[in-house]
Symmetry: C2
Subunit: 427 residues, 2 copies
């Protein structure tokens, strides 16, 4: 691990730098596959599924039989755990519903804002070694609460053309309307253009590797919105004497096991605690099944000592971590002062994995410094705000003159005229 | 004008198609300017300002003297009109503030969501013939209410290196912290990378021509968020016997004067009203100062007759207009049923220009069908939602087991271990 003691402010940027990825070569691949899927629809989708996933698909959708089979294959223990996570996620996201905002800005001028669901959304769930059914919960639950009509989930099939039963089961629990057995760039292309059978959607959500990330970015050029740009997962912990070093070490390791490019940072105002946590990490890491992955991430991780909590907070806001654990004897200081973070975990008994699975908060969060401008996925991610206005005869008489003056000053006669005609009719 | 009578549903897509723009050649220019500004900072900015705006700038910022001068140059009548618009916009956007959303999802598991301002934002205001100070109000007012610390406005200078006084005055009224005399691609590049004197921002807002639009899209590749993709402005009016044809014509013309690529559509269940409005348009257009621009847009505009309001609503939701005026004898039907629109104007006395300037709603709205997934600019556009969680010893005992089961099923041992350690410590 790399330890920095009192790094000067002008070195923070370099110290906190995330690994950059070169994307030029990927872009060409992504563009080619998009063009192909746009032209050839399902044939293109199937071709790339054969190339990248090594399976010839006859049928692109999970069938009714596969849904029934999945239900049988998932253990009752897992079903119960999913039910508890689902209930908490539902409660937290349902609480985010906002009422219509309505005011009369001037007598006779009623303005209001209402949120309406995005009608068609696509949820991307990565394949690979771990079946990320927790991401299904995190995306499908708010989509369902928002009232999205069409919720299309895409996920890569395995070599036998099957989707992991836990993913199918979770999708069924949360109102997903279609499960497409397609992953990677071709899945994003399918959702972007639509095919003979895959619906075109208006917004695409979900994590993915570099290829999926670039594909989502390309999708925005074709008029499809995306949840956010993605990057490797990150955790920053601020800890002092109040923190349990063993717990902190376990949290840093839970981040490190995600991948060798995971970002793991510990900031402390206590040199003793830094050392204690480091020692604990090297003890705990030995027992992990993903030890090799975790070791690489830990080698690149950073232990940073700073003199005061004010400096610590400045540095943390400069970094803007995706996950931020606060375990100090003045947690309120950090909670009140944090400007840039995705999700914040407070106190010794709040591990990051609680938010990853079951506390109720969403785990789809901005990385790579995007916390400075982006929210994590929440109920509003599946809604858009529409504004309404209704002006009475009295109302247009109250604000008409101002509109005329403003429109004229901007040189827009017809804008002015639309008001003048109405005002004249009321004389 | 082009009249369609009862277009069949399978022809709607073609009928409602927006003009597509080719962007490949622009992209090269934008990329070259971005690279230059990234490398050369203010020197690059000044070079392109010289090339595109025809002025050699010594100083990139509007000075204290220019601010004082602007205040003198703006008429009292315009100041009063700006004050009224500002008050309404402030009221409507302040009403959009949301409280902290806090719930205990399980006993001992507190979750909450709080919104915090985006610290640094850039507002782009186009130059050209009309000084769009109204866009200054629409962007700076919510930024100020949100609590953004740095609000940087950029706008192109005229040939004498000056910024329109109404823009400077409006910016001063709304808490803009810096006004940069730079427009076009180089302005967006400056906000994206920062220069010796221009601050790097986290999110860029505002309208602009094709170059600015592509530049904003490129900015997202460098980690800067943008408000939304932009396209030519649009208005769709639905009108029947209840509508005043003269008013409707004036609204369609106020849209048409924006530019020859403006989208103007009238949908009606009354053939008589369609004809009446068309006749009125040809009468009113003659008196407009921007007659030539408006005529081109009107030539391409569409009058669509459909048999029922249900069909009309379907068609309107398929199109997803930026501005949507409803003037019928069943306005509630449309207001309740609209799924995709930016801003909705209801009744005979609610011209679009009211929302453009002074009713209080925002005029920065999604075009080009983006209403299907994007909100217009609103208070939330300047905030991001952060989630927080605080779990007690009791809380982790309540949900710990579920997290262990879920983490194990996803093959993430270290995630499980972070919970197991805590549960064991409580045994």
């Amino acid at each position: 691990m790399k330890t920095s003691i009192n790094p000067p402010k002008n070195e923070w940027l370099a110290l906190l730098e995330r690994p950059t990825q070169t994307i030029e070569s990927i872009e060409e691949t992504v563009t080619a596959i998009f063009d192909d899927v746009k032209r050839n629809g399902n044939d293109g989708i199937k071709r790339y599924t054969s190339i990248f996933d090594g399976v010839e698909l006859d049928e692109l959708f999970v069938s009714e039989e596969e849904i029934i089979e999945a239900e049988k294959l998932v253990s009752n223990e897992l079903k119960d755990a999913i039910a508890i996570a689902k209930r908490n996620i539902e409660n937290f996201h349902a609480a985010q519903k906002t009422d219509k905002v309505a005011i009369e800005t001037t007598e006779g001028v009623e303005c209001w804002q209402e949120k309406r669901p995005i009608q068609k959304v696509g949820l991307y769930i990565p394949g690979g070694t771990a079946p990320l059914f927790s991401s299904v919960l995190m995306l499908a639950i708010p989509a369902q609460i928002a009232g999205c009509k069409e919720i299309v989930l895409t996920t890569p099939p395995n070599k036998r053309g099957k989707v992991n039963p836990a993913i199918i089961y979770a999708a069924q629990q949360c109102g997903v309307t279609k499960i497409v057995k397609v992953g990677g760039i071709q899945a994003i292309a399918g959702l972007t253009f639509g095919t003979e059978t895959i619906p075109q959607v208006y917004k695409i959500f979900g994590p993915g590797n570099q290829f999926v990330t670039i594909a989502k970015q390309l999708a925005t050029k074709y008029g499809v919105a995306i949840d956010m740009p993605a990057g490797p997962s990150e955790l920053l912990v601020v800890a002092d004497e109040a923190a349990n070093a063993s717990f902190v070490a376990s949290d840093l390791l839970s981040q490190a096991e995600h991948g060798s490019d995971s970002q793991v940072i510990l900031v402390s105002t206590s040199k003793e605690k830094l050392q204690e946590v480091e020692d604990e990490i090297y003890i705990q890491i030995e027992d992990l099944s993903r030890k090799n992955i975790a070791k690489k991430a830990i080698d690149n991780s950073k232990l940073i000592f700073v003199e005061t909590k004010e400096i610590a907070l400045d540095l943390i806001n400069e970094y803007g971590p995706e996950h931020f654990i606060v375990c100090t004897n003045d947690n309120d200081f950090y909670v009140d002062g944090i400007e840039n973070a995705g999700s914040v975990f407070i106190g010794n008994y709040t591990p990051e994995s609680a938010g990853d699975y079951a506390s109720g908060t969403n785990h789809t969060l901005p990385t790579n410094g995007y916390t400075k401008a982006y929210s994590g996925v929440n109920l509003d991610s599946f809604l858009k705000a529409i504004s309404f206005q209704k002006i009475s005869e009295k109302g247009i008489q109250n604000i008409g003159k101002s509109i005329e003056v403003l429109a004229e000053a901007e040189g827009l006669d017809a804008h002015k005229n639309a008001v003048t005609l109405r005002l004249n009719s009321l004389k």
